[in-house]
Symmetry: D2
Subunit: 135 residues, 4 copies
């Protein structure tokens, strides 16, 4: 049982109609993707070819910020606002797709971009699954 | 000239087709709103009637996180991605509206909610103006 | 192999004299603790006894913010600054200790506080181990 | 009267023994410095000489994260923990000094580094003044 799971388990009230497994997956994906994007931006900065990786560094920085905020929003259940949560999940899916697309352009040259793109794809999917609601 | 203005002024490349004044207003509104929401969540937590302010505390926390992320995204101009930026601005406008609506419910009782609601309305408008593009 | 591990593995340059295993543990602990603290603040907010949990909500919010920032700083290796990193790790250890102490006060009543306190103790230790350097 | 001022003014309880003016200055300096550092990292990324600005980009990214976290911590007054706040202020002063030193190395070449260094110096001072307590 992961820490995210244990925190969901010990929430004192009902979690509402949310799909509990999709929620857990989304929280974990946002947190992991934020870290991977921060690390990928830094790894790109450390490459000899840094000048070719400007867009990748920038998109990773944006994606890290959006995933961080989204991971926080979906970790909260008290006073849930469906409109707000859905808008944030949609923005996060868009940021993850943009970052995955950009990182994939460099994946054959830079392993960190390949790993980061995977994390972004997983997070995009997790946001879309949570948006789609109970399966 | 504000610090935000000076940083925009010294950006080494063209800022693209963006409306410079709307961009500045949006950056400043996001940063100010994030701080006001963090402070309002804390002020609500300090109220005797904290149990009636749960939703307000939660919405302020979400709005602070989304405004922080948005303020960062719109402070970056290198490798600009219109899709990503627009999705984030849309989410921020939605978060600000939700928080303004909630804070206004308590504005007659709690001055900090009144001030915070103003900051949220201003930020929502600034995000929508930037989304609307050059006037 | 965790995602954090894979990002460390694919960093293009040398990681310096850092203890690689301690670094990985610290990054993972910061990220996990930030999420747990955000969730615990929210769970406390959802409790009937919210008025007794004000300090806990506040300390969790602070600890989440400091762990988030620290997790980002230790995820970067390019242009490493030992002074900056050490100051941030020290602040994070202090924040985690404060939050663990506060959460433990409520651990017998609220399971989420017990789980969160564990995450804080683990993160405090991981920060101190990384500060202590190669074992 | 600034928004930060108005939020301090409407806090429902006593702010404790804190020097109110130093507190306001510190909150405003943290928030402004975080934004300037995010913008400076991005401006450096946009420079032709990006390869010479790696350390500057990294230090700006760290400083932005630490100032953001510190601005949030000092914006909260409920359940105040002096140890935690002091550790965070000390880390922020160290991050700001490191970033100011690094940006000053490039100030004659890049105006954004000059402006950012000023914001860092102001924030370092504001953190130290708040640490020093009532004057």
């Amino acid at each position: 049982m992961t820490l995210v799971d244990r925190m969901l388990d010990t929430y004192p009230k009902d979690l509402g109609g949310v799909d509990r497994e999709r929620l857990r997956t989304c929280i974990e994906a946002c947190v992991a993707c934020a870290q991977a994007c921060t690390a990928c931006a830094d790894a790109c900065l450390g490459e000899d070819a840094v000048a070719d990786l400007r867009t990748c560094i920038r998109t990773c920085a944006d994606c890290a910020d959006v995933c961080d905020a989204t991971g926080r929003v979906v970790s909260r259940h008290t006073g849930y606002d469906a409109n707000l949560t859905r808008a944030v999940l949609a923005a996060c899916a868009t940021a993850c797709r943009a970052c995955a697309d950009e990182c994939e352009r460099h994946a054959s040259m830079h392993e960190h971009c390949r790993v980061c793109a995977e994390a972004c794809r997983r997070c995009e999917q997790a946001c879309r699954d949570l948006l789609a609601g109970p399966g």
